[in-house]
Symmetry: C2
Subunit: 304 residues, 2 copies
């Protein structure tokens, strides 16, 4: 038995009953287990995290997308986060790196089904991208709902990978794909200079020639400033490396790190990496983690 994770983002973060109904549609699928639901009113967006075997996960994702399409109207949706669909983005994430292929297959099958049964344009992104220019979600979503609505029927570059070449009138479009786990990681600095946080973010992020697989922005937060990061492949740029990069760049400016925070769920391997570095313990890994081993045997038993 192989569990995969699915982390759909829905364009609703204010109406609790809508988020609850979408989540309930997902949780109703036998073998799909909801781990977490996070709603953000400013972004007007919610993120549901669930796991299941590929078949159950794809079924649950389909039902979540269908519920969102029924309950959310993009024509009246406003929020700080870019979006082009009611079910805006549906990534499948392997629990083990070797199982990325299972996620690619689940994404591909779901995309075809959503296009066919929900008559929604579907874009395959990241590891599932069928065109290199669709690997990056921001590029796929450019122009958002309002922009795509204008161009989807006429611009060949906007032609969807699955489903009709016309926008769904209320639910927009959906990006579906497989990707490695993404780690949201913030480092708070003992400073109130937001330009400092922005400067450090610019120095370390991939886009500006910094660390690979690292996105970063500088923000003012309650009581200070923060370098807010996404590690899009922690095996390439790890938590240890990201933390050290911020700390050293703050340090040369005479500013201390106040604290850091991992937001949401991370694979145990990402913590093992931190421990490996901190303890100079090169052989330390998930094979040493009791809960990982227990999960493995519990999954094996279910196969029997």
């Amino acid at each position: 038995m192989t569990l995969i994770e699915c982390v759909p983002n829905f364009s609703e973060g204010r109406r609790r009953e809508v988020v609850d109904e979408i989540t309930a549609a997902i949780a109703a699928v036998d073998g799909a287990h909801v781990l977490d639901v996070q709603s953000d009113a400013v972004h007007n967006r919610s993120v549901v995290t669930f796991v299941g075997e590929a078949r159950a996960a794809a079924e649950a994702a389909f039902r979540g997308i269908a519920a969102a399409a029924r309950l959310i109207d993009l024509n009246v949706h406003r929020g700080a986060h870019p979006r082009f669909g009611a079910a805006d983005v549906v990534p499948f994430v392997p629990l083990k790196a070797a199982e990325l292929g299972i996620c690619v297959m689940a994404a591909s099958e779901l995309a075809a089904r959503v296009g066919r049964e929900l008559e929604m344009p579907v874009y395959l992104y990241e590891e599932s991208a069928r065109r290199p220019e669709r690997r990056n979600l921001a590029d796929v979503r450019s122009g958002e709902f309002e922009g795509l609505r204008e161009t989807i029927g006429t611009d060949p570059a906007r032609r969807p990978d699955e489903g009709p070449a016309r926008i769904h009138p209320t639910a927009g479009a959906v990006a579906i794909g497989a990707r490695p786990p993404l780690i949201a990681y913030n480092v708070d600095l003992a400073s109130d200079d937001v330009d400092l946080a922005k400067a450090i973010a610019a120095e370390i992020r991939e886009r500006d020639g910094g660390l690979p697989k690292l996105k970063a922005i500088g923000l003012a937060i309650d009581g200070g400033v923060q370098v807010s990061m996404n590690l899009t492949d922690y095996r390439v740029t790890s938590l240890t490396t990201a933390f050290a990069a911020v700390r050293s760049r703050a340090g040369v400016r005479g500013v201390d790190v106040r604290a850091s925070e991992v937001v949401g769920l991370v694979p145990v391997e990402a913590l093992a990496e931190v421990a490996r570095a901190a303890l100079q313990a090169p052989r330390l890994g998930v094979a040493n983690v009791l809960e990982s081993r227990v999960l493995d045997v519990v999954m094996e038993v279910r196969d029997e």
Copy 2:
């Protein structure tokens, strides 16, 4: 559903077929999952790690003890490690700290059954101890098989907690108990001076006034020296603290740490603690670990 861990130590580390037969007796119990088997020829001792619900774990432990009693004769056993029984020590360990009580109960019921059905003297130790002087396993086992055989019938201090007040003629005695997870942790030093490793061990271990819940010895190993530790409660003295203690004491003598190693299985919480310290991330914990959350939901599902 609540899984607990059981880590019985058997007095056989050379005859592979004997270890296999004991392990097979454990694994044959429905709901008992063997995670690991480690045999040491010098110690002439094997450690089996398995998990199961309390009832299955106790049944599997019973069958392991019975198999060891059938297959091992202490009268001809020689090895570097102290021992007083064929199944020498049988600890139950909670996967979550809050479940230590379940382990105490499992140990207590198993002890009564072993005493009654296998006619073996049983000593309850650590959290299961009924006398304070039996908390420490080394005290319980003092004199080993040969010593206990002489005194068990006459010395009230050696009277077992369960079973007959006479040694089992071939299988000796058994210590059963509940305890927190124990972490075996070694730090290698860039030195060939074993006295240095011994001196550092003496400075940091609880017995000599050092860190609480830390045992340590200094050893010569292939290509260097090592401080070899047992963390008997990592929530009291953590991996981070143990590593820093060795490194700082080596550092003042001008010696570097070469590497460290976690031996066997550790709870994910122990790695989260290292990451929390290394990343200055005070809120980082097992709730952030994907596999922990998945294990929780999988266990919940089994309860339904």
